[in-house]
Amino acid sequence: MALPNLFGEMGAVLQEMQTNAILQTNETAVQYGLCLTAEEAVEILEARNDVLLNYGRVELDIEVTRRLIFTFCASPFMDAEEYATTLIDLQEVFYYMKNETEDQIGDEELIALMLDYFENSCGGSVELLMGRELDDFARSFRRQRQAGVWKGDDV
């Protein structure tokens, strides 16, 4: 039973609801001088859908996107000019990491981890975040999982 085949007709109505949900985040982000246009909200959504498809994941709401916005809009490294682009990249980083950590890290914990690396060792660079820090983290995580020493495992 293929999800896309079964629920394809719902796209237009759902997109409108989700676009509005993203635009609602402007109420918080505007405090930091950041704001998304309707076109940018649609771009973010479309990019999210592409990333989910490419990474073989399913998500039925946009809570992750909203949490990313709420978490990162307060970062001093977020630039108004690059706001939408950065959010699109952060979405990709997030779903990439969900796969790389085999769904063993919860959404909130992962977003907190991303913020920590973004603001500290990566100095606001998403390229460094994806290409170096989180890649290293994922490798280390898998090694520790294999050795059974990740938190929550019995030692």
């Binding site: 039973m1 293929a2 999800l3 079964l6 629920f7 007709e9 719902m10 109505v13 989910l52 073989g56 994941r57 399913v58 998500e59 039925l60 709401d61 809570e63 992750v64 779903y95 969900k98 796969n99 769904d103 919860g106 959404d107 909130e108 914990e109």
Partner: protein, 466 residues
């Protein structure tokens, strides 16, 4: 209201897929006009909400996304519960509930039904385990002692209701593998219970003895083979009835078998079917089934067409000894062709026969045609020379021959070799260089026989003189 009733009556139940019931019901509802496109989208949206909840539950609230395969599996689980509900409801009433916003309610009701099915399956399992047969059948025991408990241990009604991961190697006569999840397991257990109940009507020693002889006939290690015990027991119980043995007995002697074989061969197929039916009724009465075990009786009648087909085919190909297991160690290879000296066909008759054999699309049909129509050994050899058979088809033909025919062929194919050594050695002679395809395949056939059969053949060849 009248309009709705009229629309409901248009639902074509034959268009409903029992294995994807809810989806096919939605499609059918749309087709007859009981549902609009918008109503279907609303139902889909409600299902998506259930899926969304399941994703959160599955991830213990830690994540809102999962891998696509996981989401598909969760969706299958949702539809399994919805199917359970829909199958138990009237199709029209089910559609009414779904489009009135009752998808979640239908899902939860379906879950209750699935949970109830698990409880029923467990109860049947306990009964099957208590009444397990004492037979040397490995797959029977591992299915009951390992596979089924493993299923109940890992089965998850919420996230994987549709899952039937279970190594059930013991085959049943009737097994619908398109059914999934616990409904499949319950049906498997019900069938296993019925088959076991029938087999328990016979003594353990009788059943074990029959199994051993079955293994000898088919040259298999029956202990490790995936054979269905019920079919073997039913078959021999039927033959035991046909030869006049008392109810509950499975063994038939060689003499009884011989008389039965001659009797069955003389019957037209319609008369054979009647005879089998009467014998089954007699067997059922003799075993005291009747009202006491209606499921067993119904199952026996359900098996009848399969059993009848096997018997008819065996009678046609003179291979009844493979179906009726006698209490002798070796099956008798009766004569297949009564060669009559001088009774050769005319050229026209031979050409017609050769054409008929060459036109057969099935090997079994070719073999039957030859065995039924050839009565001269010379004609038989000419037919072999006529290239009506190809490659391993010859082996099927040789397998249908009796000792006399095989011995006669030996004298033709191994004429020179038999002058120098007796048959078992002659077959393996390095000088043996058959020229024709039928001779090559004949040597292959002989080399595949066991030593005892070759020795019996050698004795027959010796009697014929070489």
């Amino acid at each position: 209201m009248q309009h709705a009733i009229e629309l409901r009556s248009r639902i074509a139940k034959e268009r409903l897929n029992p294995y994807q019931y809810t989806l096919s019901l939605l499609r059918e509802g749309l087709r007859v006009g009981l549902l609009t496109e918008r109503a279907v989208r609303d139902i889909q949206a409600q299902i998506m909400l259930i899926l969304q909840d399941l994703i959160v539950r599955y991830t213990h609230g830690e994540s809102t996304s999962v891998k696509t395969e996981t989401a598909e599996s969760l969706l299958n689980s949702i539809f399994y519960a919805l199917d359970a509900y829909a199958n138990a409801a009237d199709p029209g009433a089910c559609l009414d509930r779904l489009q009135a916003g009752g998808v979640r309610e239908a899902y939860e009701r379906g879950l209750e039904l699935v949970i109830a099915c698990v409880a029923e399956a467990r109860a049947i399992y306990q009964e099957v385990r208590r009444n397990k047969l004492d037979v040397p059948l490995e797959v029977y025991h591992t299915s009951i002692d390992e596979a089924l408990p493993g299923f109940f241990l890992q089965y998850n009604v919420i996230f994987q209701a549709h899952d039937t991961t279970c190594m059930l190697d013991y085959p049943l006569v009737f097994d619908d593998m398109k059914v999934q999840g616990v409904y499949y397991i319950r049906r498997y257990l019900e069938t296993l219970r019925t088959e076991t109940e029938f087999c328990r009507l016979f003594g353990s020693d009788e059943v074990r003895g029959l199994l051993a002889r079955y293994g000898a006939v088919y040259r298999i290690d029956v202990a490790t083979s995936p054979v269905n015990l019920y079919e073997i027991v039913l078959s021999n119980a039927l033959f035991a009835t046909l030869v006049g043995n008392p109810a509950g007995q499975l063994a038939i002697t060689q003499g009884q078998y011989e008389r039965l074989r001659v009797q069955l061969r003389s019957l037209a197929s319609g008369d054979l079917a009647v005879l089998i039916e009467v014998a089954l009724e007699e067997m059922i009465d003799g075993l005291g089934l009747g009202i006491a075990a209606p499921e067993v009786v119904a199952y026996i009648w359900r098996t009848k067409p399969l059993l009848l087909q096997r018997i008819v085919t065996a009678v046609e190909h003179n291979s009844l000894h493979n179906v009726a297991i006698t209490d002798e160690d070796e099956p008798v290879r009766e004569e297949r062709i009564d060669f009559v000296s001088g009774a050769r066909m005319s050229d026209a008759e031979f050409r017609a026969l050769a054409g008929q054999v060459a036109a057969c699309t099935q090997v079994a049909e070719k073999v039957r045609t030859v065995l039924e129509q050839v009565i001269s050994f010379r004609d038989f050899v000419d037919l072999l020379e006529a290239d009506c058979f190809y490659g391993e088809e010859y082996l099927a033909l040789y397998a249908g021959l009796g000792e006399l025919e095989l011995a006669l062929l030996c004298r033709v194919v191994l004429e020179e070799e038999l002058r120098l050594a007796p048959l078992p050695l002659a077959v393996w002679s390095s000088e043996l260089a058959p020229e024709r395809e039928w001779q090559v395949q004949y040597v292959v056939f002989l080399r595949s026989r066991n030593a005892e059969l070759l020795q019996a053949l050698a004795e027959r060849v010796a009697v014929l003189g070489c």
